[in-house]
């Protein structure tokens, strides 16, 4: 008889067996937790009795030089208003309350209120001690996941609608604001009532209720910025009022030597295909055709846009080399120094470009060409950056939080806006000849470094101190754009049951665009991607969105 000397003691095999067993138990834990929390409420709106959207009641302020259009044109101010109005008669807090807010940031952390005059002045104006918990943009999803798992929640929690399950989290954990904000109730907070309805709709209802306050942004999506003087010369007489062929010819003439006609940064810009799809008349993410909810990528117009981008890249060669891998900052530098004569960007990018370029050249916004596909459309963005959830608490606490948000949503032309966006006169800005001039200190102390503009934000306006022509150009662009503008049908809709295929296939079309446009594969790759979407669960996503759309819009 052979005796195993290791019998009963630790062995490699026993260790692995034990470890695998324990690992399996750990893996099963979330499922068990799911069983224990069967009372979780769905954020879906289908089957609910949704509350009305907050009423829209504009705040009376200084008259803009260029009028807004509620469909998607922002007011333009050529000079800073001489007389400001107040939209918040009383301080939101008593000066004794402390308030925590978790917000995303793109900046290095600022000095605290003790050494930051902007932050201190804002605290004084709000009447609260605002403690900001900053999260770099790239880590937002991980940080919020820990929030969700741990049960921790600050008084104000900024979220983005692309974070998985965030709507469910809001529906179950955040304060229900319906009684404070739905319908006419929002009038108690005039600056929140001044937020455009499109922003509320883009945030969406959760379980038929209002669970947050939106962070408003312009509706205009991406646009092509151009070096006006050079492109006017290259285009001849047809600049900015062109057919597709004239547009392509101009880009071709703009490409030569060490200059390039068109630059698109890497990331989600996808060679500009989503913009080109709007030029071809494709739906904005989704479309309603013959009563059917149709995903944009499945349409012929979108396919034509991919082919058009492929032609620009492979045949006409107007893209800057390495367009698919170029970081945004590098692409901006190439545009600023004239290497790239037209660059895909957006309205915040337009503002930044005007500041960066100065007098070197005129930054213009290119109008889309005509004659493509089913006819020109403009794809609006949802009109929000994200939204802010409130921690549940006694009604008085909720009202305090809403008063603070009301202050931060004060529109341009109010004293509250001036405090929030420009700081303290004499410290962060000066009035020079009736206009506004920012000081050096404003570069480090502003609503981006102390990122309160990511808690909530007023309706956007165009005001570029010292550069009224830039305001005129962008206002004219929006005015033309709005005539063909279509909002995204999926604005504010909740995908829940089909989340898994949605997440799994989010990259499907992106990868196909990059591969096809770069010439690594033919249009068959694109057709395969469309087929994959239809057969691998994409139809479930489409159906759920259609059901949600019907519930929210009462089609």
């Amino acid at each position: 008889m052979t005796v195993n000397p290791r019998a009963g003691g630790p062995s490699r095999r026993r260790f692995l067996r034990t470890s695998l067993g324990a690992g399996a138990a750990l893996a099963a834990a979330p499922a068990l937790v799911g069983c224990a929390t069967s009372q979780v409420r769905s954020a879906r709106n289908a089957g609910t009795d949704p509350v009305p959207w907050p009423e829209y009641v504009p705040v009376e302020g200084p008259r803009p030089d260029l009028p807004p259009d509620p469909r998607g044109v922002d007011a333009g101010f050529l000079r800073y208003p001489d007389h400001l109005v107040s939209s918040v008669p009383e301080r939101p807090g008593s000066g004794r309350e402390t308030l925590t807010a978790m917000v995303e940031t793109y900046e290095a952390p600022p000095r605290g209120p003790g050494a930051n005059r902007y932050w201190a002045a804002l605290n004084e104006a709000l009447g609260v001690d605002l403690k900001l918990q900053l999260v770099p943009s790239g880590n937002l999803q991980a940080k919020i996941a820990t929030m969700m798992a741990s049960g921790d929640m600050p008084d104000l929690l900024m979220v983005r609608n692309w974070i998985p399950r965030v709507a469910d989290y809001a529906a179950n954990v955040a304060a229900d604001l319906s009684e404070h904000l739905a319908g006419p109730a929002v009038r108690a907070y005039p600056n929140l009532a001044n937020l455009p309805t499109y922003a509320w709709r883009d945030m969406g209802l959760m379980g038929g209720r209002i669970m947050g306050v939106p962070i408003t942004r312009p509706r205009t999506g991406s646009a092509i910025l151009s070096h006006r003087e050079e492109l006017v010369e290259l285009a001849g007489g047809t600049y900015n009022d062109w057919t597709a062929e004239e547009f392509v010819d101009t880009l071709k003439r703009a490409t030569g030597g060490k200059k390039y006609g068109f630059g698109v940064a890497s990331g989600g810009w996808l060679f500009g295909v989503p913009l080109l799809a709007s030029w071809h008349g494709a739906p904005n993410l989704y479309g309603l055709r013959d009563g059917e909810f149709v995903k944009a990528e499945l349409t012929e117009e979108y396919r034509a846009a991919v082919e058009f981008a492929r032609r620009l890249h492979q045949t006409e060669k107007v893209y800057y080399p390495g367009t698919a891998t170029m970081p945004t900052e590098t692409m901006k530098s190439l545009f600023f120094n004239g290497t790239v004569r037209a660059q895909l960007d957006n309205l915040p990018g337009y503002q930044a470009a005007n500041i960066a370029v100065g007098d070197a050249f005129t930054v213009d916004l290119l109008r889309p060409p005509t004659g493509l596909g089913a006819g020109l459309t403009s794809h609006f963005s949802g009109g929000t950056y994200g939204y802010t959830l409130l921690k549940p608490g006694p009604p008085e606490r909720i009202r305090l939080l809403l008063r603070v948000l009301n202050y931060l949503a004060a529109p341009f032309g109010t004293t509250e806006y001036e405090r929030t966006y420009y700081g303290v006169e004499g410290e962060h800005f000066e009035r020079v000849d009736g206009d506004l001039e920012l000081t050096e200190l404003a570069k480090t102390e502003n609503p981006s470094t102390v990122p309160v503009k990511y808690i909530t934000a007023p309706p956007p306006v165009h005001f570029y101190p010292g550069n009224p022509d830039a305001v005129r150009r962008v206002h004219a662009f929006q005015t033309a754009d709005v005539e063909t503008g279509i909002p995204p049908l999926t604005s504010g809709l909740v995908v829940r049951d089909a989340l898994r295929p949605y997440t799994r296939m989010r990259k499907l079309f992106e990868d196909a665009v990059i591969s096809v446009v770069q010439g690594h594969s033919s249009m068959k790759h694109w057709d395969d991607a469309v087929r994959t979407w239809r057969t691998q669960g994409g139809d479930r996503v489409d159906a759920e969105l259609a059901e949600e759309y019907a519930a929210v819009n009462e089609v």
Partner: protein, 312 residues
């Protein structure tokens, strides 16, 4: 030439019997090797040069050059003066140094004592303890359980949250344990005969003989603490406590392209990022301290790691 060949023949044997690698290389081969070495060196050095040069250039020159500079026309230290003028970078640099020094000390203490215990044959709990340690190596807890443990221990917003959860690295522990096991048993026996207890053996016998492995493991820990940024963002809500790498992440990347919905992330960062001069100056400040330490530790590297990895 013929004298040289004769000497080679005497030293290495007749030419026809020598393996080809003993032959004098062909000039073309030598040139090829030289070119390859130059290219490899350039691949390593040019990016470093670009980072340093860009940090010394003016923002205008960087923009005019398309985002980077190889040789600045008018070098200036303005970016360094600005970022080190008592603001965020200076504070976070001090935090990083503190965490690295304290964390490395805590980690070395924990690793040495545990490795020593696990290297002693007569320690009755050696095997179960080793299994527990290895279990964490095979099945790391992940972000959410880690967060819940840190929260449960009341460590949120504390610097200890950056140190204690990663205080003992199993890989380092195994190396250290192997090194201790490789020391001659006779040394332990002699110390015992002289009446030394475990603590005396560790302090008077083992540690003085383990300087190489301690230096290398210490460097591993120091680099780990120095480079760590994610745990700071996860566990420290007060951003004034962030170490340099967490700040560096925001300065250099502005969050874009790191995750989430890239298009959305880009869409709101319309303002031009901190000028590349400042980004690169911050990178240099972040890299230099740990770069300075390497030459002092380098001599221990091979000895420390290889010796610890082999149990004799």
């Amino acid at each position: 030439m013929s004298n040289r060949n004769t000497l080679l023949d005497k030293a290495l044997g007749p030419r026809e019997h020598r393996p080809s690698w003993m032959e004098k290389p062909h000039p073309l081969t030598q040139a090829g090797k030289a070119v390859a070495l130059v290219v490899i060196c350039a691949l390593i050095l040019v990016p470093i040069l670009v980072v340093v040069s860009t940090s010394l250039a003016s923002p205008a020159e960087v923009t005019a050059n398309g985002g980077w500079v190889l040789f600045p026309t008018e070098p200036t230290l303005q970016a360094y003066q600005d970022i080190l003028s008592g603001g965020t970078i200076t504070r976070s640099l001090a935090v990083s140094v503190g965490i690295t020094v304290v964390g490395t000390a805590v980690s070395l203490f924990g690793t040495i004592t545990l490795a020593y215990a696990l290297s002693r044959e007569h320690f009755s709990l050696r095997k179960p303890l080793l299994l527990m340690v290895l279990f964490t190596f095979l099945f790391p807890p992940g972000m959410l359980p880690g967060y819940l443990v840190v929260k449960g221990l009341g460590l949120l917003d504390s610097y200890w949250a950056l140190i204690l959860p990663v205080a003992i690295n199993v890989f380092n522990l195994v190396i250290m344990r192997g090194f201790f096991q490789g020391l001659p048993q006779e040394l332990y026996d002699a110390a015992r005969i002289d009446g030394a207890g475990e603590l005396t053996v560790l302090l008077r016998i083992v540690l003085p003989l383990s300087k190489a492995v301690i230096a290398v493991i210490g460097l591993f820990y120091a680099v780990g603490y120095w480079n760590s940024f994610f745990s700071a963002i996860l566990y420290l809500n007060d951003s004034s406590k962030w170490p340099l790498q967490a700040v560096l992440q925001t300065v250099v990347t502005k969050g874009a392209n790191l995750g989430g919905n890239t298009t959305d992330a880009l869409s709101d960062s319309g303002a031009v990022a901190a000028p590349q001069t400042y980004q690169m100056a911050t990178v240099v400040v972040a890299v230099i301290p740990i770069l300075i330490i390497y030459p002092f530790i380098q001599k221990y590297f091979t000895k420390g790691v290889l010796t610890g990895a082999i149990k004799s």
